[in-house]
Structures are given as structure tokens and as C-alpha cells.
Amino acid sequence: MADRINITIDGEKVNVDGGLTVLQAARRSGFHIPTLCDDDRLKPYGGCRLCLVSIEGIPRPVTACTTPVTDGMVVETSNDHIERLRRTIVELLLSDHPNDCMTCDRAGDCTLQELAYFYGLRDNRFWGERRRYEDDDLNPFIKRDMEKCVLCGKCVRVCREVQGVGAIEISYRGFGAKVCPPYERDLNCEFCGQCVSLCPTGALSGKQWSGKGREKDVKKIKTVCPYCGCGCNLTLHVSRNEVIRVSSEPDTINEGWLCPKGRFGYEFIKSPDLLKSPLIRKNGKLEEVTWDEALKFVSEKLGSIKEKYGPDAIGGLSSARCTNEENYLFQKFIRAGIGTNNVDHCARL
């Protein structure tokens, strides 16, 4: 940890960690600076140029995301010149954007849309050629609409820096610069969807949740992933009693990162194969019965076996996929209710 230092932001003296960037320091002190390309979990980039600020003693505006704080620094997060530059940048981005918010999945949850709103950009001084890309369908997970890409590079960086894969890179030059796999063909992807989670616009989204509901339609429930033992925190996006999407927050044990199972593997929650009724084997076939019948059958049968052969003729296998509470109750039932220590689970499998 670096020493704490004093800086001034918009006239206010604040005490911050000396190892931070100006952007981090401003955020942590409650100042808002717009940005499209920054994420605290990635290395500073300085690509979108929206976080330009004025710093006393430096003649040009500098990007807050790449500038480390120094003791005594005096920062101005907003002034006429900076707002003019930011406005121009947003306007330039919008001049090369489909601007189809009416039908975009990300409406209401889109940084570019917010910026356009903030700067009131209905007209555009720069209308001109727009990038046009054919839709391509390279995978079952990630939907790409590269016309909406603002080249913030978050997807590229998370793939390389965090995931250690580097499946995509910015290719081509100038206006035609585009994020794509090598030769736009050789996709060496783990489908973790980290890129999707960071995309600030509608350029990357999940095929599974596309068209199923926008930000305002969903209720978000935080829970824990049902797969491996990492214990990643999931945020379930629920609409009409259906989980339509899974995401994760940065301030969690998994830092917001997920794997393909965690991020995309939720469809089983509404699988048509889910058991919907108790079944009892009758004449060799499993048939639907009521809960009353099933519970009565099980308890009586267990009771009679216990009576006839003793409690140790009964065993229980619990589940590593059930909750602590359920596991506790299960072994308590086997131990106290049945009277045997024949209880185990699949820790060994």
C-alpha cells in the first residue's frame, strides 16, 4: 500500500491512497468522471478519452485513468474545455453507431446511451460513413453486433490480462479498426463471457438472454453458483419467474468473473425435464403420486425396515449440491430420526 496523500479535486481537499490513478481517487472520493474504457480490474488504457481532466501545471488535458495521483495535485474534473472535448468524443462515437436504442437489448443499461442523454446529442455535426458488418454466428454463447462496438478494448484486455487467453485483438487500422479473432476466423475462445460482462454498449451480449428483457424488466437476485467449489457469486436476472440471465458483481470473491458454466449454464433451471411430481414404482413403472402418498410410503417403509433389520440397515447419501442447512437436516434425520451413522456424500467423487 502506498502512503496516503492529499490532493484537491474540484476545489475540495481529499486524502487518498498514493497508489491510485486520478480516476480511482476521484471515484473513491465521490466525484464522477465519465469513461467507456476503464475498469478497475484491468490495466489503465486511456483509449476512449472521456475521462480527460485538467491538472494544474500540465498544459494539456490528461486522461484520469492513466495518470497516477501525486501529492498536492490539483485536479479539475469538469470545465468548459473538457466538456467540449467530451461532447465531441461522444458525438463522434454516435456518428458511427446504429443509434437503434429502441430495439437494443442494452437500452437502459448502456454507457453510450447515458452519455448521449447527458450531452443531449440528438443532432450530430459529424454524420458520415458508418461501419457495416455482416452478422456472423461463430458460437452458441456470445452475440456480436460489431457496429455497436466503440473500440474501448475492454473485451480484448480482459481476455488477455484476466483470462490469459487472448482470443481477440483489435485488427485493421483507422476507421476500419475492429475487434476480432485472428484472421476473423481462428477463434480460440473459452466462452467465459468476461468480455460480454464488460461491454459498455450492445456490441457483445449473450445469445440466451437477447430479447428476453431489458434492465427495467428484471429483478436481480444475488446467490451462489451451483457448479464447482469456487463459490462464485451470481446475480440472477429474473423476469416473469424465469432466470433470463446471469451476471456477477466486481465486489465479490470471484471479482465478477465467471466461467462458461456459471455464466451460461442456467437453462436447466427451467428445463422441461425437471421433476414436477413425486413418483412411486408401481408394477415396475414409476408413476405420479401425491406428496401425501409418497411421504407416507417412504416413512412407513423406512419405519418397517428399521424395525425389522435395525437402523444400520438404512443408509443416507447426502448431496454436495444441497445447502448447508439441508445437509445438516439430512444427517440429523439419518442420525437422530433413523438412528444410524450411515450417512455420507460424494466428497470422494
Binding site: V224, C228, C259, P311, A320, N324, L329, D344, C346
Partner: protein
Amino acid sequence: MAGLATVFGSGAMSNSMPEIEDNDVLFVIGSNTKENHPIVALRMIKAIQKGAKMIVADPRKVPMVKFAHLWLQQRPGTDVALLNSIMHVIVKEDLIDKEFIKEHTEDFEEVVKAIEDYTPEKGEEITGVPAEKIVEAARIYAGSPNAGIFYTMGITQHSHGTENVFSIANLAMMTGNLGKASAGVNPLRGQNNVQGSTDMGCIPNNYPGYQKVDIKENHEKFEKAWEARLSENIGMTATEMIDSAMKGDLKAVYIMGENPAMSDPDIEHTKKALGKLDLLVVQDIFLTETAELADVVLPATTFASKDGTFTNTDRRVQRVRKAVTPAGEARDDAWIIKQISGLMGYEMKYDGSEDVFNEIGTVWPAFAGISYSRVESGMGVQWPCPSKDHPGTPFLFAGGFPRGKGRFTAVSYREPAEITDKEYPFALTTGRELFHYHTGTMTRRVKPLDEISPEAYVEIRPEDASELSVENGSLVNVSSRRGTIKLKARISDRPGRGVVFIPFHFKEAAANVLTNTATDPICKIPEFKVCAVKVEKG
């Protein structure tokens, strides 16, 4: 876990996930971390970016090898020999932590004696890992202040799995890599709440919180807490239950959320045993391979319709929250258990899952300080957490081991229970892949996951494949002494010569038709990671 519990008196990951990024050395052995614990792997990659070195020991060129400074490709089942020869170098070059050994451990001399013969050259002979790499691994591991070992089922699922764990513990103790941050011995748990179900006492010898059932005080304590007569005998493990059922002694099994007819070794044997029962009750969310054999099937709900807690691999208790109402008549597992228990005369009355949770804290002191309100955030609380004002415990053994001193256990290399021969010339190892989970009941019902990885395959080296005239994608029969499955060959440089790998997610070609029921004598874990098979063109 039994292995670690014997050595330290507690069995769990000694350190925690966030600490990983500050390790100086990561020794990953028997863990395909990038595919099976992807988020732990991200922390490891972060550590490497910060300058850590990584040693990967695995018979397969798992994806983590790409990030490793050193890859040791040991033959399946030879981990003890590898670890012993690494320790041989450490002792010989005097890279041990004498003070730690003296202060915190016992029986070190026995290990020194046991590893005397394991020169790097002997290690090479048994494991196939070049002697100089063994020496280099020893120097990297022992030469850094904070070295952590990370392992999974590649270490434990062997007929000598406990001995493997002993070796790992020996290695960590002789270098003083315990009781501090960013080091330790870290078994990565493969299922979301496998730590929790062990903690909760779903094992035949322990009450909740690793309190042994055969110790009188514990027994009395729980009889009092639960207001019931309890058995004083250690119960049967899952594998013992199957054997007992086979013999006709065990009459009824109540299975909650498990699929042994897919996940057990030699599943034909398991199915036969389950068929002999008078009563098989299966409680699950799908009609699994096991449920198909049941007399009664009880529909439970998915995690998305439950309130409660999971405990992850680093002992972190976190909240599970209900998001959707379940389909049809499905009920959550707790409700079902309580109903049956009540009908059998043992009433369990609770006001929701929080009430159950709070009761756990009353019988297990390490849980006493944790409450639902404390685990609201995305970081949970790590046990032990004995009181409301205790912050939880990121790494264990800061003040010494629960059993007093850590015990060194001398271990010698033993061959796997089944070794290759003329008839079955390949060593089969099984495991998971990135896109599927366990027996596939959940992930194979997720369209994109099933699309990206739709079918079973056997990984085989190009040299081996060409000797058998097998091409990529062609059908082969893989047989062991227990059965045969038919699946596609995937030619890959991942396995070593003479080794094949099959993921066990696919019921159409279930890997566990082939695996061996041989188990570890101490913790009864089956030897999934090595058996002898032959591969023939299909």
C-alpha cells in the same frame, strides 16, 4: 480430507482464494485448474503477472501448463515417487525450514529416512519426469518465502490417495509453508457445497464440525442437542454402503441429490447393488440414472428456488437466495426431509433456513459467529469464526495445528491397484472438462453448453493413435476388465504416451463403466484416476 485431518487435525483449504495472487510459487499438482476451477485459475494467472512462478505436475498437458514455468509430466499414479524425490532434493540441499519443523511438527526424521532412496534419478525412473526437472522443482518450491500447493482429485482419487495427501503435507511442513498467508496446502473442492456437506457432518464418522461420533463427549453432546438416542458406531461410507447392499445387509438407501449410478466407479456393479435394496428413495431435480432405479422419486427444487448457504472451497460461507418459484409440485429438500422425519416420529420444527443455520452454530463452535446478516456481502465469512466479533479466518494454523503438532507421515511409493499390461496397455485417467459438470445432469440440459461439447470422447496422443490406425473423430471401443464403451477418439497432445483420458459427463459412454472400484484404505476414495484399458477401432 481424511488425510489432511490426520496430519493437521482439520481438513480444508488452508488458505483462501484472494491470497493466491500473492503467492511466490504455485505448485499445482493433479488439478486441471483452468477447466475445473476456472476462477481460482484466474487468481493464479494474476499471481504470475505479479511475478510468481508456477510448477504444474500433471500427466496431461492441461491448459494451466501454458502459464507454468515448469511442467512435470508424471505417469498416472506416481505422485508419491515424484513428491518424495522432490523432498529428497530439498533435504539434501538443506532447503528445509528447521525452525518450523522443530516448533510445529513431529516425526520429521521418519520422513527423512523414507525419502532417502528417492534420488531424482529414481524419481525419473518411476515417474518419467527428468531428474533435472525434479531438482529444479525442488529449488523453485523450497527457494521462495511463500509457496502454496494446490491439488484436486488428481491427487486424491487413487488407491493411495491418502498417501499422496500425506506427501503433500510433508512437503509443505518441511519448508514451513503453513500457518501463513499466500502459502499452504490447498485442496480445491470440486462441487459447490462439498465443503459444506462435509462440515455439516454428512460423513459417517463425524458429527457436524468434524466432531467424531466415537468420542463419548461428542456423542452425549449431540444426544442432548438433538434430543434423541444416537448410534455410537461409525457408519458406512458410500462405497461401503454399495458393497453392503450387494451382500444384502443394507436394505434401504435414501439418496438426496446424488447420482452414484453415473458417478461411482464400475457403475454396473453399483446399479446391481442398488437393485438389491428393499427401498431406494431418490430425491433430485431430474430423473437421473439413479432415480430411474428408485422405488420412490421425490421432486426437489434447483438452487434458484432455495434459501440457505453454501460453503465454498476456501471455507467461505455465502448466501443462496430464492429467485424463482419451482415448477409443479417440486419442494425444497429441507421441506421433504422434515416431512419424512416428522412422519417417522422425529419432529424437526424450524422457522425457515436461517433458523436451521443458527442451530448449527450452537453445536459447532467454529460456526458460532456466523449469521445470515454477516454473510450478506459477496465475500461471505470464512470459518472458523467462533464469535460475532470474529472476522473469520482467511488462512488456517496461524497459531499452530488443531491437533497440536503437525505430524510427518513417512510414505513409500506403491503402484496403482491396476497397472497396464499386454492386454490392457493404456492407463485411463478420468475427469471433467470446461463445459460440463459432473454427471452432466445440469449442463447437458443447457443448450449452448451441450452444443459446444455434445459428446463423449477419449483423448489419445497422436503417436498412440497412429499405431492403432485411429483417426481424429473415428469411433473406438475402450474396454477395461469391467466393461466397454464406444466413443470418438480425440487426437491431442494433452495426454502422455500410453495414457488416455475420458471425461465422465456423458451417459452414452460413461467413463465409469471402465473405472476400478479399488479404494483408498483410509478414506475409501475410489481410484478414478488410473486403471488399465485397451483401445480398439470401433
